[in-house]
Each structure stands twice: as structure tokens, then as C-alpha cells.
């Protein structure tokens, strides 16, 4: 029923009841009271007529004048009720008696004849006012109307209010339902999966747009009431169904009977792959979701490839390479072998530094390409990272095969590369390990090849080495030393020794060279050459070097003001950009005058990042610190180095000083260097002086300073004053 019609019915009922109440009550009251009054008047009239008839019968005609008596007779029926007018009229229509007040109009009159001896002698009228009754009725009508109005509103308002409330709830429920349906539709059509729902008869109930898109289906076919079998046939026409639809429909029904969801992947000839999940519903139908995983599979394959390959060269990466070795090791039969070659590109870093990373990357791509050409079927080339490559040589069980491959690789890589017009020549060092002889696990095998590579690099580069068990032992020893070195810093096992520098003119001590010593708790005093290279390789030289500078400065600050201190700097320390700040801090902390500090560098320092190094050197020199060229003559001994920086001193390597007596070349070199120093205004120091002849020769050749066991070995700081005293005494004697 429509709400409006129901509202009308309720209103009509309310109005009817109200109208009946408003009219019936006063009408009933009026009618009943009118009848009562009428009957009452009739009764009084009858009674009075009877009284009068009896009285008149006993009288003569004079009854008409005996008003007093007549009034008395009539008053007998009054009782307490006196609101009547009583009139006695004789047969001649003359009023014989008129008792009582004239009642207010309108009135009700009851008239009865007075019959005496069969003759009508007159009649009596009892008259009463209807006004009180009408007034009461009007009052009741007012109350009734009010009551009717209340009833009307009660009947109309309360049920309608309940109705309105119910209708409101219904409307809200409808709105909620519409909203929920809207959300459901939105969710349905915005989900990434295709979805369709079937009833127990296999008829389509719900589907979303994605379902049509996944299978490229026509909305004209796929619509509610469409059967599952029709859909299968339609999909088959679109190339999205393999097999017989009737058979699949039967299988589907069987599967639904199990009551368990099922998931499978359908692959189609067009390359598409779709994951289908079918879930039975409690009412006998089922829901099927369809996820197109074609792209997902492609992406997964790409991700898998990326996870196992190097993006730059598209070569297998370390992980993939390791798995290959692992697999191969697992499959390795008796007497079967294979080789793993690990190699680093020589000079690759300088290419990267000079030409930039783009050229470095291009170089790596070209290297990979050339290496690939050297491989045979079954071999695997991988890039392990940076300029590290590795080859799994499936048939490299014999050392000859591995050697042949290594030689081929060295030759191929040694040929110049053309990098966008830049001719670049690099080399390669190769380490070779043979499985299972050298290792039976992939990590260990790679480690073995790596150690061989380390050996190859250490022995001149551009070559290859096979792994030997000795390498492992040395490597372990080196690793143990590294651990001890790290602990040494913490345990304060280092000590600075000081070797005097002698002014050859006065043969007085003009300074001391600070030399690091390591008091190993188990191995005793370890010479610098046994741990400095390792400290440089592991960059531990940076904190160790700082400690030496601060310690030496603190110590030198206690010495006489004319005594300088010389400290060696490692090339690795120049990689620390704040070297000059650290030196400044050490000077400030110790209070040592900058000109009393002499920093010694070797030519190798200038080989690394020359520009930056020179900048640091200039910074140091601007502080007032003296800079010395140490071990001059042993390396490139390029004169351009002397020109590139205004060194304060050149230190002639001990090998030249030591050969002065036997080697004329050494004398010539010493003379040339001292001459060069004098020409450039640089002091010169002869190192490793062990004899008086060497001292004298150096003095004659113009060398300004010397140091060596002839004067004193390096001694602890506590011996500095003794050395100063002894030297002064000696020079005084001389």
C-alpha cells in the first residue's frame, strides 16, 4: 500500500471517530434529557390533572376561583423541583391558575385535559424551559468537540508518527541499501580481478567489468541468466578456453560438490596466463575470480633475471654464479673436475678516475663481450662486482685447459679498447681454483680462486696463478695479523722510536725521525715493514698515523727548540681529506712550532690523486710545516715531482748511501741529488749512514744532513736526551 493512501485511511478513521464523538455525545445527551424532561412533564401533567379532577369533582363551578387550593394541589407534585410553570385553563380557555415563573424560551409544554364526570372542564399545562438543557448540551458539545479533536489528533498523529518513523527507517534502510549496493558495485568494478558468481543451476548472477576484460568477452553474451556452459563456449570462441566445455562443466560440478575452493592457472596460446580461483557458496552457487597474471609473470621473470644478473653487462651475478658452482659441485662425478677463474682488471680504476664512470661502464661492457668470446659451451662468465669477473669453466679440470683460457683472456683484455675515441689499455690478473681439488664448496672455491688472484696481483699483475694451500696459510696469517693490529690500537701497543738527524757541518743533532714500533704482546717487537703495508692495505694506517703525529708532536715539544721532529706520512693518509686539520690540531695540542715539524712523503704519495695531494701539501706547508721527499731515487724519481712542489728537503735512499764505497753510480747519483737540492734550495739528508767514510763523503758532496746507525739507531723517547748529550759530547771531542 502506498504511504499516501494509508495516511488517508488513518485520517478518515480519525475524522470519523472525532466527528462521532463530537456529535453523538451532545446529541445523545440532548435527546435523552429531552425525553426525560418530556416524560417528566407528562407525568406531572397527568398527576396534576388527576389531582385537579378529583378536587374539581368535589367542588362546584367555584373551583375555578379557588386558586389557593388549586395551587396547593399542584404544589404537591413539585417536591424540590419547582422550575416549572403550571397553568390551569378552564374549558372556556380562561386561565384559572398560573403558578411559577415564566420559563426561558424555548420551552417544552405538556398539556393534559382535566376530565370530571366525563366532561372536559379544562386542561393543565406544565411548562419547563429547555434552555438549561440546551446550555448543558452546548457545553457538552464543546467538550465533545474538544474530545473529538483530541481523538482525531490522537488517532491521526500517533499512528502516523509511528508510520512516518517506520517509513523513515524504511527509507534510511533503502538509502543504506542503495549506498551499500553502490559501494559493492564500485568495489566490484574496481577490483583488479575478474569476478563472476553463479547460482546452483550454473546461471550467472553477478559479474564485473574486469571479467569481460580479462577474457575479452562481449557484454551482449555475458549477462545475468547466462549459463556457465554458454560462457565457456563464448570464451572458447575468443581463444580463452582449452578443451571441451561440457567436460569442464562436469568437472566444475564435481569440484563444487567437494565444498572446497580450488585454484589453478590457465595458460592460453596467445601467451596469456590467468589464475582462476573457484569458491563454493553455502547456497549451492559458486564465486570465481580470474586474475590475469601474464604481466605479473613477465615482471617476475624480469625480476628473477635482475636478481641473478648484472644490469650493466647482463652477465650472471655473484649469486647466480655461486648457484651454478653449487649445482655443478653437487653433480660432480668421480674424477670429474672443473675450474673457477677469478680476475680483476688492472688499471681499471685509473680509467674510471680519469675518463669517468660512463667510460668505465663502457669498458666493463666491452671487457665482458671480449671475455664471452673466449668461452666455450658450458662455461659461464659472471660479473661479481666492480671490475671483478669470474668464469666457471665446465671443462677446465685440467690445469692446461685453465691456463689456456687464462692466457687467452690476458691476451684479449690486454688489447687496446676504444672508448668513444679514447684508446685505453688495461690488463687482467687471474686466480684459478680447481674443484674439487682446491675446495668442495662454492664459497671456499671462490675464496681459493680469490687468493690465487691476490697472489697474481701481488706478483706483478697481467698474469695468472693457480691456488696453492700455502696461499691459504699466508692469508690466514695475514688475517690474524690484521686482527692483532686492530687490537693494538685499542691496547696501546705502539711506541714511537726516535732516530737522530745529524747536521753534517756541526755533526750535532738537528732533529729526530719518528719511527713506529709495535710491541706485540706475544711476538715481541715487530718491525715496521711487517705491519705497515698491511695497515695501509686495511687503512688502519690512518688512525695509527694520527696517533704517531700527535704522540711525536707532544714528545718533540719537550725537546730543545732547535731540535725538529720528522714524521713519515703514508699515501693512504692523504685519502683522509682532513689531514692538514689533524696536523694543525696536533701542533696546537702539543704547542710545537710548525717549523719544527717535518713531514716525509714518498713519491708514491704523488702518484695518487695528484691534484688533491698537492693541495694538502700546500696547506701543510702554509702552516710552516717542512715537507721532505723521502727515499728519493728508488721509484720513478721523476724530476717533475720536485718541480711540482717546493720540498724543503730531499732524503737520499739508504741503498745509494750504502753502495757509495762499491758503486760509482751511487756516488754519481748522490752527487747529482745533493747538487740538485743545492740548486733548488733544498736540504738533503743521507739515509742509512753506517760508516765515517760515508759521512765524510756526504759532507764533501754538499749533503746537509745524515742519519743512520753510524750515529744512532732509533731509540725510545726516553733516550732522546741521552742521545742529545752523547752527541754533543762526541762532537765536542771531535
Amino acid at each position: 500500500m502506498k504511504p499516501l493512501s494509508l495516511r488517508g485511511v488513518v485520517t478518515a478513521i480519525g475524522a470519523s471517530v472525532a466527528l462521532i464523538t463530537a456529535i453523538a455525545l451532545p446529541a445523545g445527551y440532548l435527546a435523552s434529557n429531552y425525553l426525560n424532561l418530556s416524560e417528566h412533564l407528562d407525568f406531572k401533567a397527568d398527576l396534576n390533572s388527576s389531582y385537579l379532577a378529583k378536587y374539581i369533582n368535589s367542588q362546584d363551578t367555584m373551583w375555578r376561583f379557588q386558586r389557593v387550593r388549586l395551587a396547593e394541589l399542584l404544589s404537591q407534585t413539585d417536591g424540590a423541583d419547582t422550575n416549572f410553570r403550571k397553568r390551569v385553563v378552564d374549558s372556556s380557555s380562561k386561565v384559572v391558575l398560573d403558578e411559577g415563573d415564566v420559563p426561558d424560551t424555548p420551552t417544552l409544554v405538556s398539556r393534559r385535559p382535566i376530565t370530571v364526570a366525563g366532561s372536559n372542564v379544562g386542561h393543565i399545562e406544565i411548562e419547563a424551559s429547555l434552555r438549561p438543557l440546551l446550555e448543558d448540551s452546548a457545553l457538552i458539545a464543546s467538550f465533545s468537540a474538544l474530545l473529538g479533536l483530541c481523538i482525531f489528533f490522537a488517532i491521526r498523529i500517533f499512528p502516523l508518527r509511528i508510520l512516518d518513523r517506520t517509513m523513515g527507517q524504511l527509507e534510511r534502510s533503502n538509502r543504506d541499501l542503495v549506498q551499500i549496493n553502490g559501494r559493492f558495485d564500485t568495489a566490484l568494478n574496481n577490483m583488479s580481478h575478474g569476478l563472476c558468481m553463479f547460482d546452483s543451476e550454473g546461471r550467472l548472477v553477478v559479474k564485473n567489468q574486469q571479467y569481460l576484460q580479462v577474457y575479452n568477452l562481449s557484454p551482449e553474451v555475458v549477462k545475468p541468466e547466462c549459463t556457465f556452459l554458454d560462457l565457456l563456449k563464448h570464451r572458447a570462441m575468443r581463444g580463452y578456453f582449452n578443451g571441451d566445455p561440457d567436460v569442464h562443466w562436469a568437472e566444475m560440478q564435481d569440484q563444487m560438490k567437494t565444498g572446497k575452493p580450488a585454484t589453478w592457472v590457465d595458460e592460453y596460446g596467445n601467451g596469456h596466463a590467468i589464475t582462476v580461483t573457484s569458491s563454493p557458496m553455502p547456497n549451492g552457487g559458486w564465486v570465481v575470480t580470474h586474475e590475469d597474471i601474464t604481466e605479473q609473470r613477465t615482471v617476475q621473470a624480469k625480476i628473477s633475471h635482475m636478481a641473478l644478473h648484472d644490469a650493466l653487462t647482463n652477465l650472471p651475478n655473484r649469486l647466480f654464479f655461486r648457484e651454478q658452482i653449487e649445482t655443478r659441485l653437487g653433480q660432480l662425478g668421480r674424477d670429474e673436475k672443473f675450474a673457477v677463474l677469478c680476475f680483476d682488471l688492472d688499471k681499471f680504476k685509473s680509467v674510471n678516475d680519469t675518463l669517468g664512470h660512463a667510460f668505465g661502464d663502457e669498458l666493463l661492457r666491452q671487457v665482458a663481450e671480449r671475455m664471452g668470446k673466449c668461452l666455450r659451451k658450458g662455461d659461464t662468465l659472471a660479473r661479481l662486482g666492480g671490475d671483478e669477473f669470474a668464469i666457471f669453466q665446465a671443462h677446465g679440470g685440467q690445469a692446461e685447459d685453465a691456463s689456456a683460457l687464462a692466457v687467452r683472456l690476458i691476451g684479449e683484455i690486454g688489447a687496446p679498447f676504444d672508448l668513444d675515441g679514447h684508446q685505453v689499455v688495461i690488463g687482467v690478473s687471474i686466480g684459478i681454483a680447481i674443484a674439487p681439488r682446491d675446495a668442495t664448496e662454492s664459497d671456499q672455491l671462490l675464496k681459493s680462486a680469490d687468493m690465487a688472484l691476490y697472489r697474481a696481483k701481488g706478483e706483478g699483475r697481467g698474469t695468472y696463478r693457480f691456488f696453492e694451500p700455502e696461499m691459504d696459510r699466508l692469508m690466514q696469517a695475514r688475517r690474524a695479523l690484521e686482527l692483532d693490529l686492530r687490537k693494538a690500537i685499542v691496547n696501546n701497543e705502539f711506541e714511537v722510536y726516535y732516530q737522530p738527524l745529524i747536521n753534517l757541518q756541526s755533526e750535532q743533532i738537528c732533529g729526530f725521525e719518528a719511527l713506529l714500533r709495535w710491541n706485540h704482546p706475544e711476538r715481541g717487537l715487530i718491525p715496521p715493514l711487517d705491519f705497515i703495508p698491511l695497515a695501509e692495505e686495511t687503512t688502519l694506517i690512518v688512525p695509527i698515523g694520527e696517533w704517531v703525529i700527535r704522540n711525536a708532536c707532544d714528545e718533540a715539544a719537550k725537546w730543545p727548540k732547535e731540535i725538529r721532529v720528522a714524521i713519515n706520512l703514508s699515501p693512504v693518509q692523504f685519502k683522509m681529506r682532513n689531514l692538514s686539520q689533524m696536523v694543525m690540531s696536533a701542533l696546537a695540542h702539543s704547542g710545537l712550532a710548525a717549523e719544527r715539524l717535518e713531514l716525509e712523503i714518498t713519491e708514491s704519495v704523488l702518484l695518487v690523486d695528484n691534484v688533491a695531494t698537492l693541495e694538502i701539501l700546500h696547506q701543510l706547508r702554509s702552516l710552516g710545516v717542512r715537507i721532505s721527499m723521502d727515499d728519493f731515487g728508488t721509484g720513478y724519481s721523476s724530476l717533475s715531482y720536485l718541480r711540482s712542489f717546493p720540498f724543503d728537503k730531499i732524503k737520499i735512499d739508504r741503498s745509494f748511501v750504502h753502495d757509495l764505497q762499491q758503486n760509482a753510480d751511487s756516488k754519481a747519483i748522490v752527487r747529482a741529488v745533493t747538487g740538485l737540492g743545492a740548486s733548488l734550495g733544498m736540504a738533503t739528508t743521507g739515509e742509512g749512514v753506517e760508516t765515517r767514510e760515508e759521512v765524510d763523503y756526504l759532507r764533501r758532496e754538499g749533503c746537509t744532513e745524515a742519519q743512520g746507525y753510524f750515529f744512532s739507531a732509533a731509540k725510545p723517547a726516553s733516550e732522546v736526551y741521552n742521545m742529545l748529550a752523547e752527541r754533543n759530547a762526541v762532537s765536542a771531542v771531535a
Partner: protein, 269 residues
């Protein structure tokens, strides 16, 4: 005085019947007065008196105007309509209006307390006995007399009428009968009725004055009711003769003896 009246009554009873009848009526107080006065006529008059009872003043005047009776004694004078019909007052007498009781030795009352007695539901005599009052109908000629002579009586009578235990006597005779019958009664009446009907009732002194003709004449007792002897325009000879007798010294003496004094003569007033 009572003896004389008795004699007259006896004479009237023994007189021979005549053909002419004098029909009279009116107030109840005159019911016995009329025969006494009629008895004073010449015995040779061939006239018979018929007193029609229970007419009252209004009924009597109506009957007189319709010539149903020949003379009426009314408690009021004719009204304008009745005068137009020719009715005329020929004699007017005053009789002391009295309060009477059945108590053997009634106490006197003050005129100012009469209304309170009628009004109070539990009015009592000095000995604590209840005062049982008797009312008259509104239309009775005594009612306006009471209202006129005693202050506050209109409201007192209305209050008394509202009580259902108060008897209402329709006629003067009913009134006197009730007063006699009720113990400790109190009712209004006239000296002429009490005298002529020889009622067993005691007159109550008002303001210390016992009602009497003398007291009325002297003004010591001011409470009275006037009775009007009224004839039609065309009175019967018997009626004329009866009126003439009343106006005669004998008639007036009889009036006085019956508790009335003539107060006016219409012809001269």
C-alpha cells in the same frame, strides 16, 4: 365580646331560609368574620350567606369580577384591571397582624429578631425548644405583609422556603390548624382570625406589646393587615345592604369585637 358573637351565630343558624343568597369569599381570615358580621343584619332580611372557602384574595376578586360571588374580602385592593372591571372597595379594616404559637406561655419577641428566627435553621425559644415556623405560599396576601412589617423578612422567607422541613400552609385555616397542631409553633396570623375562629393559640407580644385593637389604635402595636370589602360595579342589593350594615355603628362595633377597626371609607377617602 365572644358571647355576643356566639349569640349572633346562633341567631343566624336559627333564621328561616330565604330565596336570596349572598355569596361571599376571599381571604381565609374572613371565613368566620363574614358570618359573624352577616348575623348582625336584620333578621327579617330574606338573605342567606354562602361563604365560598379557599378562594383567597386573588380567587375571590376573580370570582367577583365574573359575578360568581357577590362580595369579597381581600387582603389587597383591586389592581388596575380589576378596577377597570368596576370592582370597588367599600370597606377597609385593619386587624393586628400577629405572631402566634402553640406554646402555653410564649415569650415576647423583638421585631428585629423575627427575620433571624425565620432564617436560622435551629432557632430556639428561651427554654431551648426549637421554634417550628410555618410558612405561607408566596402568592398569599400574608407574605407581602410579613415582608413589609419586619425588616429582613424577604431574605429570611427565601431561606426558610429552601428548607424542606418547613410546612407551607395553603390557607389561613390550614395555617392556624398547623400552628395549633405543632408544638412550639410560630406562625403569622391576624387577630381577627384568631378571635373569630377561637383558635387555641397564644398571641406573641412584639417589642413588648401584646397585639390588640387598642394597641393598634394607639400605635403601640404597629403591625397590621388591611382587609378590603369589595363589591362589583353592580352589586346585588343584599351585598349593598350587607355593606351598609358593616358600615353601621353596629357593624363597626362587630368589626371591633372581631379584632378589626375600620380605617377608611372608600367614598370619603
Amino acid at each position: 365580646m365572644y358571647l355576643r358573637v356566639l349569640v349572633i351565630l346562633l341567631l343566624s343558624l336559627t333564621s328561616p331560609l330565604s330565596a336570596e343568597t349572598l355569596r361571599a369569599g376571599g381571604v381565609g381570615a374572613a371565613t368566620k368574620l363574614l358570618p359573624i358580621l352577616f348575623a348582625g343584619l336584620d333578621p327579617n332580611e330574606d338573605v342567606k350567606l354562602e361563604v365560598i372557602p379557599s378562594l383567597g384574595s386573588n380567587g375571590g376578586l376573580r370570582a367577583l369580577s365574573e359575578n360568581a360571588i357577590d362580595i369579597v374580602v381581600a387582603g389587597r385592593p383591586p389592581n388596575g384591571e380589576e378596577l377597570q372591571q368596576g370592582l370597588r372597595v367599600v370597606v377597609a379594616v385593619r386587624t393586628p397582624y400577629t405572631l402566634v404559637t402553640s406554646r402555653p406561655t410564649p415569650q415576647g419577641l423583638n421585631s428585629t429578631e423575627i427575620a433571624d428566627i425565620f432564617k436560622a435553621p435551629r432557632a430556639m425559644w428561651v427554654d431551648g425548644s426549637p421554634i417550628r415556623i410555618i410558612l405561607r405560599p408566596k402568592s398569599d396576601s400574608d407574605t407581602p405583609v410579613l415582608i413589609r412589617i419586619f425588616p429582613g423578612m424577604a431574605a429570611a422567607l427565601e431561606a426558610a422556603r429552601a428548607r424542606h422541613d418547613i410546612p407551607v400552609a395553603a390557607t389561613d385555616q390550614d395555617n392556624a390548624d398547623a400552628a395549633e397542631r405543632l408544638k412550639d409553633s410560630l406562625a403569622g396570623s391576624t387577630l381577627t382570625q384568631i378571635t373569630t375562629e377561637r383558635r387555641n393559640l397564644r398571641l406573641i407580644s412584639i417589642d413588648g406589646v401584646v397585639p390588640s385593637i387598642d394597641a393598634l389604635e394607639s400605635g403601640a402595636y404597629p403591625f397590621s393587615k388591611t382587609l378590603y370589602f369589595i363589591l362589583p360595579a353592580k352589586a346585588t342589593p343584599a351585598a349593598e345592604r350587607f355593606v351598609a350594615f358593616i358600615q353601621s355603628p353596629t357593624g363597626q362595633a362587630l368589626l371591633r369585637e372581631t379584632g378589626n377597626i375600620m380605617v377608611a371609607h372608600p367614598g370619603r377617602s
